[in-house]
Symmetry: C2
Subunit: 249 residues, 2 copies
């Protein structure tokens, strides 16, 4: 199970060996992208579905006057909308933040998967719904939360998402963003990001260095930012919970 997508989907349901290998076969067409290289750019014709296998990437939009807003992060296992190919052109860009490995699943393969494996299809829909929920939460984040809360909330979300694909190390995960990029994510200036980071460090809530984020006090960070993980729908009450239980015994 070295496919992060499969690890992610396991949070929603159990997948059969058949389903797993079908997914794996679709991921053969993978290519490498350099740090800060676009995987696909605003205005491009849409093609297959992009799946991040390794690395870290983001969706972003650029305004005519150059302002940039990052609207989503891609953690390994994340894919862009299953149905992108329905649209003619991309209305935003996807860029690798660090060197990344991205699989492209052709429209045909997507349709084959969804035609043959209903259970897998449900899992992919789940992933899509979670992606949408995250976008909504980001609106709440920039719309309502203060700079400190905003950043804290983002960090909580990231840890949860890395955990969901087993790519955390305890309360640490990779976060290879510059402060400028963090600013473009949070709707703040880079100077203010710097000061907000310092404040979080001062309160001994996090450390962030060398592209690694460590959350020293997750509970405090969650409380500070009103973080409620429900929107991630990491539904440990179902399959995975039972599996976790079995392993625990």
């Amino acid at each position: 199970m070295n496919n992060p997508l499969l690890r992610k989907l396991a949070n929603f349901t159990h997948l059969s060996d058949d389903e797993c290998s079908a997914v794996n076969q679709c991921c053969n067409d993978a290519s490498e992208f350099a740090a800060r290289e676009d995987v696909i750019s605003q205005g491009d014709r849409t093609g297959g579905v992009k799946l991040l296998l390794e690395g870290f990437a983001c969706r972003y939009k650029v305004l005519e006057d150059g302002r940039r807003q990052i609207v989503a992060y891609f953690v390994p296992g994340d894919l862009c909308d299953l149905r992108v190919f329905i649209l003619k052109r991309m209305d935003h860009s996807i860029g690798a933040v660090i060197a990344s490995k991205v699989a492209t699943i052709s429209p045909e393969n997507v349709l084959q998967l969804t035609n043959r494996y209903p259970n897998l299809t449900r899992a992919l829909w789940w992933a899509t719904l979670v992606e949408e929920a995250i976008a909504r939460e980001w609106i709440v984040n920039v719309g309502q939360r203060s700079a400190l809360e905003r950043m804290a909330h983002l960090f909580c979300e990231l840890l949860y998402r890395f955990r969901a694909v087993d790519l955390n190390h305890g309360n640490s995960c990779t976060l290879p963003l510059t402060q400028v990029e963090l600013a473009e994510t949070l709707g703040l200036s880079s100077v203010h990001v710097n000061r907000t980071l310092q404040e979080l460090r001062r309160q001994n809530l996090i450390t962030l260095e060398g592209g690694t984020l460590t959350i020293q006090d997750l509970e405090a960070l969650k409380e500070l930012s009103f973080f409620n993980p429900d929107y991630l729908h990491l539904d440990y009450s179902s399959e995975k919970a039972r599996q976790v239980e079995r392993e625990a015994n």
Copy 2:
């Protein structure tokens, strides 16, 4: 064609009579909601897919301390995620802003539609993708744009969306929100919304009274807010364009 959903989908593709009547049959189970009444609340078990037939509604999330963020508007013809029922519980609420008529399409009916009508299914996917694109644009809006730009951008979007379902009157459309609700949409204080509205009026760009928004100078408003309608994927280059052309001749 008095079903706003069908009018909306016509922006993407031509639907056969069969497909149209299939959709219409699914909309029989409709109920009325009073102004400011919740259609479905955060934490509720998910049920069928909600489709707004008449009125105006919004998605919103409430933080523990009472702050509220509206994360989406529903214009007639809009539906919430086709696959909500995959999730156990709602992570946000949907509320009627004014008295509204909402159809509930059962999961079974959704599955039947998508099994039988591939073309219709593509159209529904398109609608879902547009919804996601709007959410991303809202992140850009609150993240990067100034109060004035933000409000102008929202108004442009609204007009385009009402146009897409033929519910505009020239450059006017319904906008039955209080300034407090506008504030909760734009991530501003209600006081500042008031002043920003005044500024837009002072520049003779809009009027807003009695729940009706009129855009007096759409071009100027678009320019002011860097509004680029691409993200709405109202693809007049395809079917509808041809239809419009035919009608024009």
